[in-house]
Symmetry: C2
Subunit: 137 residues, 2 copies
Amino acid sequence: MEHSHHHGDAELSQNQQLVMDVLDRSTGAMSAYMILDELRDSGFRAPLQVYRALEKLIAIGRVHRLESLNAFIACSHLSCEKIGVTAFVICDRCEHVQEVCDDSVSQFLADLAKKTKFQASKSSIELHGLCNACEAG
Amino acid sequence: MEHSHHHGDAELSQNQQLVMDVLDRSTGAMSAYMILDELRDSGFRAPLQVYRALEKLIAIGRVHRLESLNAFIACSHLSCEKIGVTAFVICDRCEHVQEVCDDSVSQFLADLAKKTKFQASKSSIELHGLCNACEAG
DNA sequence: CAAATTGCGTAATGTTATAACGTATGATAA
DNA sequence: TTATCATACGTTATAACATTACGCAATTTG
């Protein structure tokens, strides 16, 4: 065990690492097919290679799926899988994504689940609009 | 102006009304292609006929899009367009969808926007898991 | 009337995601 | 060692979701 800088720090296969690297380098979210195109030179030929890697990366908390964009983004936190819930704030102009996972988010979701007598297993909170910089510009 | 029971109560075209009727009859969310299949007998031939009607119905607040399902559902409220924000609580077993739009939801989103210095224009809050009945069963 | 708006129909295409095969490899237990 | 299990892989095909682009018809509005 050499470098321990993230999450469960599971060992990644080559394909998983390649997909992770692409997302780490990206400034914003990427669709599976954008990732595929980036990895053609590395030998990727089919969507499934991307989707299978993403499935694992999402499972271990290193990647998030943005439902409203059908896109994927590297987790910007060290341990959001411990908190488990994240809200995404997505600028529709510059495409920057802020990842918020604090108590207010988990508290809101807990309250919502309680109020609706619901056993929640997954959540998706996504806000669209303009970030501070783009609104001003 | 005859019956006034919903939202802005805009006049609907025939296609829009047909799509609205299908969604009103449905117990849960429906994909655009499920709606299309329901309307073959009424003369629908192409996805665009559905998507165009949905666009209008969503704009006037009578239908919501569920991003995490790529599906659509009739609004269960009389005036949620006035509040503008809704949280969806989706049972993955029975597929029932609860629509929550109270102050806690709008307050949470307002706080989130303020905290991230964000000008929000659209939101999507979707909770997946098991409803009370299915959890018990 | 002219122009603008809204809705419609159709064909083609683009985009996102999964099913269904079979194969290879490494761990582990008999 | 051999059997078996789990995980990952590669490929082809297909399913599922959504939009572009074209032209036409009806209605509203200046």
